[in-house]
Symmetry: C2
Subunit: 426 residues, 2 copies
């Protein structure tokens, strides 16, 4: 991927964001729409000047803020007045105390589901895109773009519409009609590419390097360092909703691995700021067996992640060559967690289990985390006596096909009581 050269932005108002720093060599760069280190090509991430002072005051300031991710604006690369700007105000979704599910799984230490299906376009992508929108505004971009096969396309289209930016989203031309409608309804440009998702990505990289791409912010490419920070808000919300307390165990899905690494970053920031007590937590990564390169590497004791060709119903997690895979391995090992996978049948069973016990209809990624939670408890790896938070990052309405073949009426009857009695449901 080409490294874009950009003018230094000296008067950017991106709150506490101080610089970009390379995750590999530590080299620092001014804030700009770049994503790879000029020195070593490592990935760039945001370095902060975080607020100092009394944690109690910061807690109160956050609690008095809006019911969205913007309550954490002092910890995010966004301007202080971000909540006044037109955006989708995602986040502050429900943390469901899942007592029914806990009973089924034998968890006694408190089980919670962080349910991100409540976001505006019903996936956690609204969090990351909202941060990318602020970066796009700061850099003067006028078009918001991405490559996508699902959740991200809708999140970008919706966010751009509300922010008054043009959007141009690229998808493989043969996506299911439902996904196409969700991506197109917000009125931006939607371009079908004759090719695979890899072809779409290659085309986008070409576009960024071309004069046509000037003024374009690709949320998950040249705005990626900003975009990725949105996932930190999952960590902040979980801890605040637990009463400013770290959970003992978290189960997080892995696609690129970015979300898991940023949740870890968010937890460490809360500790550093004194907002939560400093004590150990374990992070567990969850993959689908049909795309489990990180789980494979974890189990084999490897530090490198060998790419795979995805084949799973959990399409939102189907990244065969996850960029943040090695960092995920580090975090799972450092915190005493693990990375595990479940097969498609176990994913479907877990979606139904969560729906039946808690009334939460998760997308396949939620089936992966709940399924992995069950598997890790049965294997004695996840401790059922500790407080555990499981992420559901999307909405079952978007992956109906996964459960449709095995989900239907208990009975079909004629409209009379005798027929109902015969069905054995009375």
């Amino acid at each position: 991927m080409a490294v874009q050269t950009v003018a230094t932005h000296t008067d950017l108002s991106l709150g506490p964001a101080a610089a970009l720093s390379c995750r590999e060599c530590g080299e620092r760069f001014p804030l700009g729409p770049v994503f790879a280190c000029e020195a070593c090509f490592g990935p760039l991430e945001i370095a902060y000047d975080l607020p100092e002072g009394d944690p109690e005051e910061l807690r109160k300031r956050i609690e008095a803020g809006p019911d969205s991710i913007w309550r954490y604006a002092p910890l995010l690369p966004v301007p202080a007045d971000v909540a006044e700007k037109p955006n989708l105000n995602p986040g502050f979704t429900r943390l469901v105390k899942a007592d029914n599910l806990a009973r089924e799984l034998g968890v006694t230490g408190g089980l919670y589901v962080k349910d991100d299906s409540g976001n505006p376009t019903h996936s956690f992508k609204d969090r990351v895109v909202a941060i990318a929108v602020e970066a796009a505004r700061a850099f003067g971009f006028t078009t918001l773009s991405c490559s996508s096969t699902g959740n991200l396309a809708g999140a970008v289209g919706a966010a751009a519409a509300r922010a008054g930016l043009r959007s141009c989203v690229f998808i493989p031309h043969d996506l299911e009609q439902g996904k196409v409608v969700m991506a197109a309804v917000y009125g931006g440009d939607l371009v079908g590419i004759e090719g695979t998702y890899d072809d779409v990505n290659r085309f986008c990289s070409e576009l960024i390097g071309d004069p046509i791409g000037e003024g374009w912010g690709f949320v998950n490419v040249n705005l990626r360092p900003y975009y990725a920070e949105g996932s930190k808000t999952l960590a902040y919300e979980i801890c605040e909703q637990l009463g400013w307390r770290l959970p003992d165990q978290l189960v997080v899905p892995i696609a690129s691995g970015s979300q898991l690494t940023k949740i870890d970053k968010g937890l460490r920031e809360l500790i550093a700021l004194g907002l939560v007590e400093d004590r150990p937590y374990k992070i567990f990564g969850a993959q689908a067996e049909g795309c489990s390169p990180v789980a494979r590497a974890f189990k084999d004791g490897h530090d490198v992640v060998r790419p795979v060709k995805p084949d799973t119903i959990a399409k939102s997690l189907a990244i065969g060559n996850p960029a943040d895979g090695p960092y995920v391995l580090d975090i799972a090992r450092r915190t005493g967690g693990a990375v595990e996978d479940v097969n498609d049948g176990q994913i479907v069973d877990a979606i139904k289990l969560l729906a039946r016990t808690e009334g939460v209809f998760a997308e396949t990624a939620g089936g992966v985390t709940v399924g992995v939670t069950r598997k890790l408890i049965e294997a004695g790896v996840l401790d059922p006596t500790l407080t555990t938070v499981v992420l559901n990052t999307g909405d079952g309405l978007k992956t109906l096909d996964a459960v449709a073949p095995t989900t239907g009426p208990s009975a079909i009857i004629r409209p009379n009581l005798d027929s109902f009695r015969e069905a054995g449901l009375a």
Copy 2:
């Protein structure tokens, strides 16, 4: 419909709910699972002993409550500790300041969209079902039931699952698979009835009168007086989110008409309690042209509503014989509002308009309210210089078919820059 005889419940803890009272003759009855007046067969609704005292204290108590409808527990027929019980915690959804839409429609007085797609099962039905669940618990019911063709089935299934109640939901046997999946995934019983929706309703009435139906709470039949009160929370939230202020104008969809009447009830309660200033507001009802018996009666100056056979894409509003139609007419006329309708093409246009301007993807019912808002502004009926709130009561993901035929990619291209240039989107 048969009037169920029930034991008097003297030790019910349903908060400020004091009795059932007949909306026609005013006769009072003890709280119980009954829905029609023994004296005149009029509909029963909840009468309250509402809290007295300093409005400022009540406001503070509400503001310190949970981020759900339970912050208004002192004004609802639910126990004081309702937030501690397992339920879906619906409500406190976003009130979107729709400045982009306002510009398109020429509204200068402030335009807001109350977006109920953020509820747990993505429609306002979660509000009403949550209240019905508390009534079911109070009356010792063990099965939660309803007849439904869509949103309600999922809301009942999910709420029952979380509450630990059995659910048994009745639907026409030939519903689209997507709706069946959404209704069945929560693991309760789902029964397809060989017949029309009317046949389903007749069967349910029979079931309530039969010994089989003992212990069954039909949310929109024998629990209807409780259930309906859930819509008051829309009024409460809108006013609180406006800074404890009444909007000047509200645009509300009409199916049975219950929601509109309860929003009016909620606004009057807030005035009576001193929580908002007592000043005029206008309520506008919105219907689809293919099912607009109330709009017809309003325009013709009639007090009675003549039933129609529905034929519209707005299926969640397709009630041809709306029970609360006459009350809706009263309210529209008393407040100086109106009842208007839009055709299917206008509904689709309005869905796209809202998506394109605010990033909110509404179900067809939201297209009806936005479309009617536009029509009423153009007709000079709705005053664009006043604060206006438009309701979106459901989610576009559930009615994809409405927009699918006219929503697709801007272009299909080959994966190279020349092909992109040729498409004219660069």
